[in-house]
Amino acid sequence: MTKSNKKDTNLVKASAAEGTRQPSRRQAIKTLAATTTLAAVASTTPLFGRYGQVQSAEPIKIGFQVHRTGIGAAYGRWYDRTTKAAVKKINDEGGINGREVQIVAEDDGTDPKRGAEVVEKMSTQHGCDIAFGTLFSHVVIGSAPRAGELKIPYFVVSEGHHVASGMLNRYTLQPGITDVKSQVQAMAPFVNNTLGKKVTMIYPDFAFGHDHRDYFSAAVEAQGGQVVAKIAIPPTESSFTKYFPKIPRDTEVIYHVMVGPAVLTFVKEMGEFFGNSRPEIFGFIDSLEAVDLASPGLEFLEGTYFWEGNPRYAQANQSDYDKAYRAAVGVDNNGASISDPKDVSTYAHMFGCWETLHIVKAGMEASGYSSASDRAKLIEAVEAMTSMPHSYAHPQGAKEFNGKTHQTFGHQYITRVENGKLVLAHTTSIADTYYPDEVDYTTQSF
């Protein structure tokens, strides 16, 4: 061996060892450089090869954050179908600014941490223009900050009050679906006047459920009613009978809203608990989204009321817009899939995807959106929107968008279970659902 010399590099020693099985450092660095270059080229080159044609040939990429697995899987399935139908309609009509709309879907597992990673992937890896589609409130709260950091417009379809509360950022908007605070506020008068003044609330123990707990309690007490018990159940729970003994004996109305894979078990066990002597019941259709109302054990729901974001069953006053929307998405008059009547849809929520995509189209066309540098202009264009009339683009009903709070307001529907179907009993006005602004995102910088 040569005498040790501090100037001896590993390269010398390595080349001496080239005959052995260990790769030399020089070789390792070369391979690393080659792989990195290859990876860099591969990730920036579109699949069909590099091209330098006109900007308008490139599609508009919308990153779709979808709950394919996890507790939101049932909603994710229908959000996916509605999104595909909306994109097909938009593309058939010429796309956005003459450009084709392309959906890049990623599963977030209904997990907040994974949600933030998906937003990052859409922004940095897929090069999406915007991100959209998140439903579950805890995932929105976990993902929206990342969207704000990456400065990518984030259109959520969530119902949570977190957008309008000022908790999030100027990049996060909810123009296609109403939020819980406005919904429960409009429900409180009906519950108090029609069903009873002493209410027991049963809700899932996370952000969305807490919105129900806080805002409905306030609304009921403002009406002169009283919430006698608040029962929080984890959305991952699978057995519910043990929670029901907490319902006070003097309850007049049960107010229930539940999410997660076990909602059918929840409603069934509630029926088993009450037997023949049930109080009045007012539920949010979330407790039965994607569940067939005719399931065994649900007979006790006859005569009870539900909030529905969009009535599942086609009503007597069905608009032509609803008819066309159902046909486009593939849903029959009972709210189930045309190809499988047992596959019931999440009809009260999925319209949010359809309407949001149409709002994105309107916003991009109003702002002359051409590339990611126009994202701020897109957001400003959407913030300038106000009234959205009832139309094929807005089949759930007319909307009033509040550009300052980034939240839309719309009609809420109350239906009653009659002979195994949900029949419309009451439609609120949009004004019934207003509450004072809590934030003005337009004063925030981009």
Binding site: T69, A74, S238, S239, Y243, A262, E272, F274, G275
Partner: protein, 308 residues
């Protein structure tokens, strides 16, 4: 709700939990007792039993009892076959080494879970119970005319839940008979006592291991089939029962079958009672604290032998 109805409801719910838990924990305990290995994938066999039950029941159109009966007869043996295959392909090759088995069964857990996700999907699907009538439970009270019955609000159970409790008792009895009265039981107990001596007596230890692993998985699947009309079949449903089974097996004593049954009763009933009086989360906290207590002061469990 008043005190006595609370107690009764908690007891009934707890007994249902205990029934299903005892079957599942028994499977785990058997596997550990005879084979001396921990099967972390045990919860997934429970889930597979429930998912197969849905698959089989959905093939029948008429009265749900036929579909459920078919599921009860077919799903556990199918799951047992899956377990035996896993044993032959994986566990046998790592020679049942304790640490390697834990790692290997964790891998099995993920494989089974994800394959179920890829085929059955992420949704929870219900299976209709063969019969399900709500039974109001009356209490006795002192009225002007003497002793009378009254029906407290909310106090009830269903005929199916009672059937689950009875079925579990019958199945536990059957397992006891299997262990003590049959030749197969004799072989299992001999292998459990001393593996080398059993081999010296020409007991086919390899085959016994495979059969025991299959039996353990079959018991878990049976528990899954029994619970699926009450809950639903979902690909993540094996996670919570696995934790509870470990708690039960540790408290009861690894390898002790009576200990497992007693511990399952204890954990199940206390879970039901504490859930109804306080909260389900507190019940889980107490169960886990119980394990910690046992591990510190009585590491062999309630019924286990001192040195293992």
């Amino acid at each position: 709700m008043e005190l006595v109805p609370y107690l009764i409801l908690g007891l009934l719910e707890g007994l249902v939990t205990a029934a299903v838990l005892s079957l599942m924990a028994l499977g785990l305990s058997l596997v550990f007792g005879v084979m001396r290995v921990v099967n972390v994938a045990h919860g997934e066999f429970f889930m597979v039993g429930a998912v197969l039950a849905w698959q089989i029941a959905s093939l029948f159109d008429g009265h749900p009892a036929w579909g459920f009966l078919a599921a009860l007869l077919v799903a556990p043996p199918l799951t047992a076959c899956l377990a035996v295959a896993a044993n032959q392909l994986v566990l046998k090759r790592i020679e049942y080494d304790p640490e390697r088995t834990i790692v290997a069964t964790i891998g099995l857990l993920y494989i089974i879970q994800q394959v179920t996700l890829m085929t059955y999907g992420p949704d929870a699907r219900p299976v209709e119970a063969p019969f399900n009538h709500r039974l109001s439970i009356p209490l006795v009270e002192w009225t002007e005319t003497g002793l009378g019955l009254y029906w407290p609000w909310g106090l009830g159970t269903t005929s199916y839940k009672l059937a689950v409790i009875l079925a579990a008792v019958a199945l536990l009895g059957g397992i006891w008979m299997l262990m003590t009265r049959t030749r197969f039981g004799l072989l299992m107990r001999a292998t459990q006592l001393d593996r080398e001596t059993a081999q010296a007596f020409a007991i086919p230890v390899g085959k016994v291991y495979a059969a025991v692993f299959g039996l353990g998985a079959g018991l878990a699947a049976l528990a899954g089939v029994l619970i699926v009309p009450i809950q639903q079949a979902h690909y993540l449903m094996g996670h919570d029962p696995l934790l509870l089974s470990f708690i039960v097996v540790i408290i009861g004593g690894l390898g002790s079958l009576p200990g497992t049954v007693v511990a399952a009763l204890l954990i199940g009933v206390s879970d039901g009672m504490i859930s109804v009086f306080f909260s389900p989360t507190l019940a889980k906290i107490i169960a886990t604290l119980g394990v910690a207590f046992v591990l510190i002061f009585m590491p062999q469990g309630l019924f286990g032998k001192r040195s293992l």
